[in-house]
Symmetry: C4
Subunit: 224 residues, 4 copies
């Protein structure tokens, strides 16, 4: 393949709306599967089915990463910019879980994998933002960070924390934390949950700062 052709295909893969929507859809499906597996009492066959689905998603992410790496002009730069996509495609199935028996660590790996997948939503938003408004961009990043925070929080706190009864509780907690409201009706009790909380809190400060910066800029550009 000529360099020109490779560049065109890569551009298509990265900028085509349907490819991006499919990737976002798969990322959200991952979230749904993890939440469903953690919160419902499932039969062993159902777990196996979910793990197979997750394996397929991982394969698609691996394929996407591999294709990008093959097609890119500089593999080193591509790897540097897209290594989270490799994390997103670690193919861990139910069988491996049982043999290792280090469940807590594996749960963490799964969360990292899903966050790496959710990250793609922000990457797509970044591209759209070049052509459109800053406000859409900030809204997408905020939604992505809150979703990532909620799914991580849910994975580590559902079970140990009696105040977290379903995934919407985790979303509510993530919003209450990232906006620095902090009612205290739900708060992390595991140290992993607290680390996730700290990240969300500092993101929240950044969000207030960015909003203030945007609004300030808006006033400066409009008035003179």
């Amino acid at each position: 393949m000529t360099l020109e052709r490779r560049r065109n295909i890569l551009k298509y893969l990265r900028e085509n709306l349907w490819v991006n929507l499919a990737i976002i859809g798969l990322a959200l499906l991952s979230v749904g599967l993890l939440v469903y597996e953690l919160s419902a009492d499932l039969l062993i066959e159902q777990v196996a089915f979910i793990h197979t689905l997750d394996l397929i998603i991982a394969m698609i992410f691996l394929l996407d990463f591999g294709a990008g790496l093959y097609l890119s002009e500089s593999r080193k730069i591509y790897f540097k910019q897209n290594w989270p996509d490799l994390l997103a495609s670690i193919p861990i199935t139910g069988g491996i879980y049982r043999s290792f028996r280090v469940l807590r660590l594996l749960r963490l790996i799964r969360v990292v994998r899903i966050i790496a997948r959710i990250r793609r939503v922000a990457v797509v938003a970044d591209k759209i933002a070049d052509n459109s408004s800053k406000y859409i961009y900030i809204a997408s990043i905020t939604a992505t960070v809150i979703l990532a925070g909620a799914v991580s929080f849910f994975s580590v706190e559902f079970g140990p924390n009696p105040n977290v009864a379903n995934f919407f509780d985790a979303v509510w907690w993530a919003v209450v934390t990232a906006t620095t409201v902090g009612y205290g009706d739900i708060f992390p009790i595991t140290w992993e949950g607290r680390l996730i909380g700290m990240v969300l809190m500092f993101f929240g400060i950044g969000l207030v700062g960015t909003t203030a910066g945007l609004v300030g800029n808006h006033f400066l550009n409009r008035r003179p």
Copy 2:
């Protein structure tokens, strides 16, 4: 009627102080009626009386919307800008409530209707702001959003939530949330209440940002 005359009547309807005050008064009366109906143990005749009053208010809003639509130069643009006024005038009476028996959804419709009415307060504030200070404008918007948040919160949380005993509790909660203080003495327990809370929280971040922007701008313009 000539175009000129229609334009003049419409301008009068939209800019006359007494018409605007009447509309704001009716909007606040709606809030009062809803709060009173929800929090007091009423006889069937009293409920009927309130619903009749509400029907009259809805008719006035419908009339106002209809007159505006008839008098406007472009009906399409008018509809696009003022469709919430149509929501504000849905005439649902007590009789219809009972026949449908989908009470929760209907309660939501009533809240939407009342928020659409409260919105008029912000629209009037927007007009006044053209001639006067930005600070009055922001204060009006803030008051409107907090009132809308409080009345929505009261409608969905009064009853299920033991911490919400009267409408002032809901106002207190709305202020504590929109300023991102978040004591946690009152917090939503229904998912509708949480959605309302999320909207108020993000509005609160915007409020801090706007205040920061205004103050920053003030320092920039004054000092040089």
Copy 3:
């Protein structure tokens, strides 16, 4: 007296460091007396002594206001700018309290009187700020507002609220509220306390905004 002389004496009264320090000292003494009277179980003679002291302070404030009014060039403008000083000098003694028996309202009047006195601290800070840094000015205003919030909160919540055991609890609450942290260990339970809380919260948003504006301005002026 010639206009020139009157102006000079007024200037001396308003700008002399020792006069200002004495006024601030009297304002803080008022706070101390109110807090002490409310929180300690006092004998009837001790209450009488405190009321006498407070009467003397009120007289000094009245004298200061009267002298300013007499010496000013335009009495109308002076009254417009300094009417809170008149509030600060309402001479209500213990005897009057008992005869009226509308204790809650009277408590509110006393709080208003003390806030009007504390206001003088901010007025002095405003004058100092003309000659010195903006940061000192903002710090003084913040300290004044928090002190005023704490003393008002203490007056209405000490007694009804079991979480407010001493004046330092009220100061702690005022800081936690004005910084929008809002732990929820102490929160108002009376409606007067909630109104005070709302004022402090909105002041807190303004404080964050002002800090952001100052820092933003600082970066803008320094970097180019």
Copy 4:
């Protein structure tokens, strides 16, 4: 020694990476020793060992301060800028503790000493910031303030406060407070703890303001 030589040695002591890393390491070791001594049930010999270690650290800080004072061109200016380093090297051993028996005050002295040591981390960050990004500088200051807040809070609240079970609880509290989230799961109950909390809260407001200023500046410089 010539002035030139003294200046060179001082510059080496202050700017050499390894010297700075050693000082930061000793500061963090101090934190660790204090936390360990307070939270573990130790034998009398172990306490003695920790105190000896702390004495050695104090000696090194004293030596560093003394060397700097000796080598500096103007001893007066050096003292003015570095007096917290002298606080950091007060050599209080276990024996002195027991003879005085004013344990609470001594605990406070130790905290002041450790905060003075942690301060060196910020000083080093300040130097690095001259050559590198503002963001690294703000992050270092934030980390230093939160660490200092956590260790102070831990020293005064561990024991009296049943919600503070280990040092990580104190770090969590410090982050929740400095970001103005304020869940209320952990809050100070001693007045020293509350004072520490107030400092952290106002630092938090400054942090939001600084972030807003930086972001606002970023938007201003980028867009034109």
